[in-house]
Amino acid sequence: MKPFRTHRGRVAPLERVNVDTDQIIPKQFLKRIERTGFGQFLFYDWRLSPDGKKNADFILDQPSYQGASILLAGKNFGCGSSREHAVWALADFGFRAVISSSFADIFANNSSKNGFLAVRLDEGEVAELMRRSREANDYHLTIDLEQSEVRDDQGFRAKFPMDEFVRHCLLNGLDDIGLTLQHEAEIGAYEARHAVPVALLSSQP
């Protein structure tokens, strides 16, 4: 996993609440068996009309938000389906982080497994960043995971919460399967105490 320490990037404001993972990456693209190449399908139904033409009004296709790497969105971002493809699509498109006042639990979990940041600020702070990013042409933010802080060049500064262990893994790009396997002996001991039910073993597989 790619470590995340500090990232400075252009901000794109997506002024919608409850952005569900069906919008982030529609189902017809979930049939691919690879982890890569999902960026082209990000927000597909919002970005492209049914005949495949670009919707010039959509925020990510407006000139002042080209190349944005930080997405700003309304509350409850990433709700709905557990599809990790949503995070893969955001990252593949070029985003390193989403800032919102709340995230669905599974989306937040999936983010942390991909070196992608789900940054939670309070509603007032998100509203202020929305205003600044709309008003300024080429608005940039810095997300500093070491300080757990978001800041801009005009004096905005806000701390964000992050589980300490998740932060540690993100900062160091750690593979948490490897970390769990450090507890091989305890897993083995647990399994010795709780055998697999007989019925499950019958005529396996």
């Binding site: 002024e15 919608r16 609440v17 409850n18 569900d20 069906d22 919008q23 529609p26 189902k27 017809q28 979930l30 049939k31 691919r32 068996i33 690879e34 982890r35 139904d45 049914p50 309304g74 509350k75 409850n76 709700c79 709905g80 389906s81 557990s82 599809r83 990790e84 493809h85 995070v87 709340s102 669905a104 639990d105 599974i106 979990n109 999936n110 497994k113 991909n114 589980d163 300490e164 262990f165 998740v166 540690h168 948490d176 399967i177 970390l179 769990t180 396997l181 507890h183 305890e186 897993i187 647990y190 399994e191 709780h194 697999v196 039910p197 019925a199 499950l200 073993l201 396996q204 597989p205």
Partner: protein
């Protein structure tokens, strides 16, 4: 540690109740001669010394803790891992890339459900990418030794339908699947939640997950549900009340007279929709209804093992007086048949109600409501019963079990689908389909003009050819009315199976409480 034990023994009841340290608790258990001698299966969840008052969630969580490394997320053991074709290929690739094996093939069970066609089995799959994904699951299961209920298996079905019907799902278990509706299995008093593909790989490799604990929420449903008001209506009413993020960060336990009165199918419907309120898991404490459902199922404990298992499960329900982080009360008498009018499951109104006036809403909700109504092609103040429909979908992991089909067939019997409506019934599994056919339900549906199809997720998410056309309006028994969920431009209204069947016949939403049933 000795100091910790002394401190614990000298502490107040409140502090003891709050004890969440499994290592300390394990030591205390070993120290206590009474508990030390009682090594029977039944004491697994019943440890009076450890914490006098615990919730169902806390009992299962604590029992499955493998390790609590300092400064890290606790490591939780997973009893059952359900796998399907859409969220697993990248996880198996990850195992291959790192040279890892599947740790517990016997605790891993796979099926195909999300993208398979519901045409008669044997019809070639014309979608080459879908066919490739199915083939990938087949070869991965073969390579890693996973039991697969494939397309042609009599046990194939939606993963959350077959787990319970095969007896794989049991009280007290930890169950995960790369699908958010894994919350369904909580109906059995299991801790069951959806995970992403990275976590699928983690469980395949370690049979564990590194997890932060959740907060607990009790949803207490007082009173009884009126005739015609179902578990689906309870779920929709609950989400309407607390919102689509009302339970984010929580595990819900459903309790109260109305919940106790639900069948296992009803409890599954309710727990299934927990994720639509933001909760990763929803649970119902097991009782005689649960045991009667599980008993005799293919993978359920048998004979003496069954007796021991039930004895153990009886220790699961939340202790009297245990505390929750949040309690929500719902008055069952206030519930009615509901219909969603918007683009998330919290945008819901009684069938006798109207689409809300945007002016009457809080400012923060206005824009989302305007966007939703624009997408849905509705105006504020429209009467729900005046909304005409083009399609009906009866199916999905929420409402595709035998009881759901019986309820819909009872409504359909002796009637005919409106000439302007195309209605399909998609049983949740091959076993459900077969049982329904034995009862003649398929004939009732076919006579009434419904399509009777093969099992799968189908039009719940439209990954297979079953999709809405742009602008088509659908009464659906599924779980999500998100934009484009059932097909780009499609408009989904979530309802119960009875309400869906009635809408198919009249061509618009109809209060099932006034229905004229034909015998």
């Amino acid at each position: 540690m000795e100091a910790a034990i002394r401190s614990w023994e000298g502490s107040s009841i409140a502090v003891r109740r709050a004890c969440r340290n499994p290592v300390l608790c394990d030591r205390l258990k070993r120290r206590c001669p009474a508990l030390g001698l009682r090594t029977s299966y039944s004491n697994v969840f019943c440890n009076p010394l450890m914490a006098a008052k615990r919730t169902l969630f806390e009992k299962i969580w604590q029992r499955h803790l493998v390790a609590q490394p300092a400064g890290r997320s606790p490591i939780l053991y997973i009893d059952l891992h359900l796998v399907h074709e859409v969220t697993s290929p990248q996880a198996f690739d990850g195992l291959r890339a790192s040279g890892r094996k599947l740790r517990q093939p016997a605790r891993t069970v796979a099926t195909v459900d999300h993208n398979i066609p519901t045409e008669p089995r044997g019809t070639p799959i014309t979608d080459a990418i879908a066919a490739k994904q199915i083939a990938a699951l087949q070869s991965n299961c073969k390579e890693f030794g996973v039991r697969l209920f494939d397309m042609d298996s009599p046990d194939q079905g939606i993963v959350h339908v077959i787990g319970p019907e095969l007896g794989l799902t049991q009280p007290g278990m930890t169950i995960v699947c790369g699908d958010s509706h894994t919350s369904t299995h909580g109906a059995f008093g299991a801790l069951a939640f959806g995970i992403g593909t990275s976590e699928v790989e983690h469980v395949l490799a370690t049979q564990c997950l590194a997890q932060q604990t959740s907060k607990t929420m009790k949803i207490d449903v007082r009173g009884r549900l009126e005739e015609g008001v179902t578990a689906k209506d309870l779920a929709l009413g609950m989400i309407g009340q607390i919102g689509t993020d009302g339970a984010t960060g929580y595990v819900i336990e459903y309790a109260g007279e109305a919940v106790r009165g639900l069948s296992m199918e009803g409890r599954m419907t309710l727990c299934n929709m927990s994720i639509e309120a933001g909760a990763r898991a929803g649970m119902v404490a097991p009782d005689e209804v649960t045991y009667a459902y599980v008993k005799g199922k293919r993978f359920a404990p048998q004979a003496d093992e069954w007796r021991k298992a039930v004895e153990c499960w009886r220790g699961l329900p939340t202790d009297e007086g245990a505390s929750f982080d949040k309690v929500v009360e719902i008055d069952a008498a206030q519930l009615c048949p509901f219909v969603t009018w918007g683009t998330n499951p919290g945008m819901v109104a009684p069938v006798t109600g109207r689409v809300p006036e945007v002016r009457s809403l809080k400012e923060a909700d206005r824009r989302a409501t305007e966007l939703a109504l624009q997408y849905m092609g509705l105006e504020p103040g429209n009467r729900i019963e005046d909304i005409g429909i083009d399609r009906v979908f009866i199916g999905s992991c929420t409402n595709s079990r035998l009881e759901d089909l019986r309820a819909a067939a009872r409504v359909a019997k002796g009637h005919h689908v409106s000439p302007k409506v195309r209605a399909m019934v998609v049983p949740g599994s091959q076993r459900v389909k077969q049982a329904a056919e034995q009862e003649g339900l398929h004939q009732i549906f076919l006579d009434a003009g419904f399509e009777w199809r093969e099992s799968g997720c189908s039009m719940c998410l439209g990954m297979n050819p079953d999709i809405l056309q742009p602008g088509e309006r659908c009464a659906s028994t599924s779980n999500r009315n998100f934009e484009g969920r059932q097909g780009r431009g499609g408009r989904t209204h979530l309802v119960s199976p009875m309400m869906a069947a009635a809408a198919a016949i009249t061509g618009h939403f109809t209060d099932i409480r006034n229905w004229e049933f034909q015998s």
